[in-house]
């Protein structure tokens, strides 16, 4: 059902009435506003006396003869986007208004009409000055500047863009992430120190500064180490080192049997590379080694080295800097070359026939003696079939006479096949090669020949065996059998891109999927260069997602996404809700995490199952909710809760987004819009034009008129019914929030409030995909809304965007949409992110909309591996 209302795409020239009270400032506090040029104001009417709704008296002055001022578009952009006038809030970044009550700005229009000035034609600059955001707020120069800025939209073609140009993903294009250093967050530091040393860090106690939060997620991509940071890291490292010392460095290193140098070497070779999440350079090793070797003993040295290394910048930053493409390609070439290196393996020689003992003609003697010049001959053709490549091995010893050893020569069929000096008086094997000899007769002659020395009869050789066989063969293989070549970045990677090193990638995967430092398996995978292809990376991702750590980590992601930890410190009226104890708060924080975790990890559930009417409760929480089932402090799943359940019907959502004694339909509605549907609402306007002193009286009058009590819904409606508040509240906030009034401030369903007034359950979600699509879905109560969200296609789309932001440290379209100093994203960057998002969405779609699939797809995508300096 689409709401019938005036067109969202009003063009000013059509003469429609603008709601000038919206987003409007005070009608001229003369002492504060910038001086107004005389050409645009009527001197007859002092600005401060003009009520907002009556414009005609100002507009009656006709500046048509005014000399146009030169507008500065740079200044104009500042004014347009700045918080003074906040044009951007109502009119959108390039004129595409996020709200239906405001027309889009067509930058090509140079002639404008206004409803209060009949046929009078205004130029853009004059129009702005006269009417925007209220008379006398933005002077002539201001108007000219802003007009000049708006005109730049024409040349950039943004008037025709719907702002969604960045969402088209080109096939085969590569997406690049940001090249950056990321400081470890409080949680990451805590988990990492625990894994590396066993020490449990208490960040709040040690003064570790709060995490930077951007758009709801912890984000340290721009954080730097202030003095408060550094002092606290030093303190934390010292505490961790002392703890490790108290446990004799268990799990770190065992130097009990090592001297200082050995200890230092072991430390820098092994443990230190776990701390740095990569091997150390020699320089780095020396620095830490010398700490240890200069110490009195290993204990002191290790404690000190730990203190230093656990506060090192190489530990504190997750590096996503990468290596430039050319260097990585060269490195991979080297690795591949090594893997292809032929190795020579020596086979064994094979003996196939032996002459010894009787076959050698030895009866009682053990050996045959050959004095000098003596020969032993035998036809061996029948003994051994010679081929092209054979050996003859003679087992012999010799007698040294006159300083010289005997020389043995073998001949076959008169051809010498070699000479050997028998230079031992104990038996040894002497091998002769027979190669390429065409053996005809096969007559072997073994002769003790006279060498260069004197003729000495007693320079004898004695042999006991003659063996025949094949030689040892040399085989060439190409590396170990399980080696594969490392894949190089494909040729379409830009030359100004960087590729994460294997260790940086291991680090990224570890923190993304487990929230802590890479384990040994990951570090080994990096060492062996097996994080090179999406398939190979996927193997590690799958392994990581199966760990307990991953489940806790994603539970915490869910908590950030849903702002669940509001529940831990939100104030509550303890008289009204005496059973809302700290234990209940903790249980609620756990409840919503468990709901989220099970949908992500158990079975292959779609993400929207988080809205089903189930929960995870322990007995205290179940009792609190009036639900039966759980028997003790363990959290168990409870189904078919009917009136509650899912993330919306959870304690953390309902009680967290509530006041002390009453619910907050506004906070709840805004949370649904911004967190679940990715529909950010414009920030609250400044300089609201209302006399609030009367508001209290008016409210009291209203309460009286209703008999002395009103519902929460009536209260909030009354406070937001006037412009400019109503522009957002009337459609986007109130109908949505009021439909959730069936949950009280303590997170329990109700049909009557504390004053025994009936709760009106009816609600409407206006704008189901985007805020301004005009779709309306009516619902009854929180579980009714849950059903709508369960069927929503916007929720999974939004989930993917939030997941991307949490992992990458930047949104797909902007870094921070409110912060004045936030960096802008270039079109190229945004286009790449759009591709990454579509990969995540596609993966979800192919997996029953399961959440894990989206994160897996992101983990293996090129936006992670390839980086640029934007």
């Amino acid at each position: 059902m689409k709401i019938a209302r005036y067109s969202m795409r009003m063009i000013v020239a059509a003469g429609a009435v603008l709601s000038l009270t919206a987003c409007v400032g005070e009608p001229g506090n003369a002492s504060s506003a910038a001086p107004i040029s005389s050409a645009t104001t009527s001197s007859a009417t002092p600005a401060s006396s003009i009520p907002a709704s009556s414009i005609s008296s100002v507009a009656s002055s006709a500046p048509s003869s005014q000399t146009p001022l030169t507008g500065d578009s740079v200044r104009g952009k500042e004014l347009y986007e700045g918080s003074a006038y906040s044009c951007i809030n109502c009119h959108g970044k390039t004129g595409q208004s996020p709200l239906p009550v405001f027309p889009n700005i067509d930058p090509s229009k140079s002639e404008l009409l206004h409803s209060t000035t009949g046929n009078r034609i205004w130029g853009l600059a004059e129009y702005i000055t006269a009417f925007m955001p209220a008379p006398d707020k933005c002077d002539a120069q201001c108007g000219a500047d802003i007009a000049s800025y708006i005109e730049t939209w024409v040349s950039s073609g943004s008037s025709s863009s719907s702002g969604n140009a960045a969402e088209v993903c080109e096939v085969d294009s590569v997406a690049y992430g940001r090249r950056q250093l990321r400081l470890l967050s409080r949680a990451e530091l805590t988990e990492t120190l625990k894994d590396l040393t066993g020490y449990t860090l208490k960040p709040v106690d040690l003064g570790i500064p709060n995490d930077a939060v951007v758009e709801g997620f912890v984000n340290h991509t721009r954080s730097f180490v202030t003095q408060a940071h550094y002092d606290s890291y030093i303190a934390a490292a010292e505490s961790a080192a002392k703890y490790a010392e108290s446990k004799d460095f268990a799990g770190i290193i065992d130097c009990s049997a090592k001297n200082l140098t050995q200890c230092a070497d072991a430390f820098t070779a092994n443990y230190a590379s776990k701390v740095f999440r990569r091997p150390l350079t020699n320089e780095e090793k020396n620095r830490y080694s010398s700490i240890i070797t200069a110490s009195a003993n290993a204990k002191a040295g290790l404690t000190f080295a730990l203190h230093a290394i656990l506060s090192s910048p190489n530990f504190l930053y997750r590096s996503e800097l990468g290596v430039d493409v050319a260097t990585i390609r060269a490195q991979i070439d080297d690795v591949n070359k090594t893997r292809q290196q032929p190795t020579q393996s020596q086979g064994q020689q094979k003996i196939l026939a032996t002459l010894e003992g009787a076959s050698l003609g030895l009866m009682n003697a053990t050996a045959r003696r050959l004095n000098q010049n003596q020969t032993y001959g035998k036809n061996v053709k029948s003994v051994f079939p010679f081929s092209n490549d054979n050996i003859i091995v003679v087992r012999a010893k010799g007698a040294k006479v006159g300083g010289k050893w005997p020389i043995l020569e073998l001949k076959i069929d008169g051809t010498s096949i070699g000479k050997a000096t028998i230079n031992k008086d104990t038996y040894a094997q002497y091998t002769f090669k027979v190669k390429n000899l065409n053996v005809q007769t096969g007559l072997l002659k073994v002769q003790n020949i006279r060498g260069n020395g004197s003729a000495e009869k007693n320079r004898f050789v004695e042999f006991t065996a003659i063996k025949f066989g094949t030689p040892a063969t040399t085989t060439t293989t190409t590396g170990p059998s399980n080696t594969t070549l490392v894949a190089k970045p494909s040729n379409n990677i830009d030359s100004d891109a960087y590729v994460l090193s294997q260790y940086e990638l291991a680090t990224f995967l570890a923190y993304t999927f487990t929230g802590s430092t890479p384990d040994n398996a990951l570090l080994n995978a990096a060492k062996n260069w097996t994080l090179d292809t999406p398939d190979n990376i996927q193997k590690q991702v799958t392994r990581l997602l199966n760990t307990e750590k991953a489940k806790t980590h994603f539970g915490n992601f869910g908590a950030q996404w849903l702002h669940a930890d509001n529940i831990l410190d939100v104030s509550k009226d303890t008289d009204l809700f005496p059973d809302f104890t700290p234990q209940i708060r903790d249980a609620m924080a756990r409840e919503i995490r468990e709901i989220f975790k099970t949908v992500v990890f158990d079975g292959n559930q779609p993400i929207n199952a988080i809205f089903d009417d189930f929960s995870f409760l322990n007995k205290p929480l179940a009792d609190y909710y009036g639900v039966s089932g759980p028997m003790n402090n363990n959290f168990v799943r409870v189904n078919n809760l009917n009136t509650r359940g899912g993330v919306l019907g959870s304690g953390a959502f309902m009680a967290g987004l509530a006041g002390l004694d009453e619910s907050s339909p506004i906070k709840r509605a805004v949370s649904v819009r911004e967190n679940l549907l990715c529909q950010p609402l414009p920030p609250m306007p400044t300089d609201i034009d209302s006399a609030r002193d009367d508001a209290e009286t008016a409210l009291q009058d209203f309460i009286d008129s209703q008999g002395g009590t009103i519902t929460n819904k009536q209260n909030f409606h009354f406070l937001t019914k006037d412009a400019p508040c109503s522009d957002c509240h009337r459609e986007f906030i109130n109908p949505l929030g009021f439909g959730m009034e069936d949950f009280d401030a303590a997170g329990r369903p109700r049909s009557k409030d504390a004053n025994n007034l009936n709760i009106d359950l009816m609600g409407e979600l206006i704008g189901t995909e985007s805020l301004t699509d005009g779709n309306v879905k009516a619902f009854e109560g929180t579980m009714g809304l849950s059903q709508i969200l369960k069927d929503s296609t916007q929720v999974p789309r939004c989930f993917v965007q939030k997941g991307f932001r949490s992992v990458m440290g930047v949104g797909h379209k902007y870094y921070d949409h409110i912060a004045q100093d936030a960096p802008d994203l270039s079109d190229a960057e945004k286009a790449g992110y759009a591709c990454a998002l579509s990969k995540m969405s596609d993966a979800m779609k192919s997996n029953n909309m399961n959440a894990k699939a989206a994160f897996e797809a992101l983990g293996i995508s090129d936006v992670v591996r390839y980086r640029k300096l934007y």
Binding site: Q180, Q227, R692
Partner: protein, 437 residues
Amino acid sequence: MKSNREKNILDRRTFIKNTTAAGVSAAVVNGSSLAAGMMVARSATAAGTQGIRRVICLYVPDGAPVKGKNRWLPTGNLNLVDTSLPLEGVKQDCIFFKQTLISDKNGTGCGGHANTDKAFGGIGQQSTYDVELAKAIGDASPFPSLQLGIQSRGKGGLTSPTKKNGNTILYENNPIAAFNRLFGSSGSTGGNSGSSSNTQLSKQRIVDIHKAELDALKRSLGSAERSKLAEHLNSVKKLEDRLEASMGNEGPSACSTAGWNSSNFVYSATNKSRFTREAQLQMDTSVLALQCNLTNVISISLGNHQAEQVIPTLTHNNIDYHKCIHGGNINAFIEMRAYLSEQVAYLIKSLKNAKDEFGESLLDSTLVIQSSDMGDGNVHSSIDAPIMLAGGGSSVRSGRVISAARHTSVFDTASELLGVSNKVIKYGQGPVTGVIA
């Protein structure tokens, strides 16, 4: 006009003198942790010069109930009204500014939620006033600046009044951790003996290693990351400075932290019902830090713009501040805002009663600038913001109500009074007329 190098040497000498005089003791460093074990301030001897030399920038969120009937601004005769009444005892030390606009760099009003650094002059600038001031005078102190918060972390980002190079600087909300960082967890006077010089030297090694590592890292970076590492390096060097200055210093104690947190308050980040206690502890720490010459630039954030604190001791003790402001109940807003003025009064009184090394009231050499992000909290306006200046002794014409067109000009006034106008950029239109004696 001194060259940078000369300036640095001078600052460094002043720094050494300050810390020496303050008696940063080597023995103390041996105690608990490297940085937290800095038991400081032993000597009573003079370090720096007399005169105004310190600034506390105090952010009080969400303006005040000023629209229509102004319930903050005193009359011309300095008769206080609803939400400024608690300042009665110190009003003669204060200047109340009227018709002041929370403005950006160009003088345009920018009051409202988010981009809270507007309170300290951040809109249109890279860094807020407290950061620029610390850059100019901070090198001479062991801690160039401090940021102390009381439940200063709002939901969502951008809730800090301090910004450096476009990045939010978050405040320390845990008063115990803040104190420990400055004074050590032992917290009491009397140093520890031990192989202090050995420990000193070996701890210097850690700093050396980190410096070398940062240099190596920097070489492979783009400019954004390089400036991150430059900050990191500065932080390491600052610790090194403190270590060097602390070598071999012993002296009689005159700056005592005994009595701080005598009720043994234990902090919990999720227990938001002890705002008063937390505020007083942070303010006590501030006074001590100034007294001990540990720093000359302190920023305090008294809550955050989302204003979710509930004060159990008030009549309206079951509404959070935000609801007080917007809930259509003007009396709730008044009571809560008056409560915040009580905390401000506590700070000013504590400064007044504390003595510096010359035996003078700390308040005479300190400027307290109370600023905000809005004029009227209910309508998020920019005009009539509750801006105030306290302290400065006879150099300031206190005890008056003066016009100041922009709140940013009050920061310029402070720069002038400290004599650093040529070192710190202008935030507003220059010093406000009628403030400087």
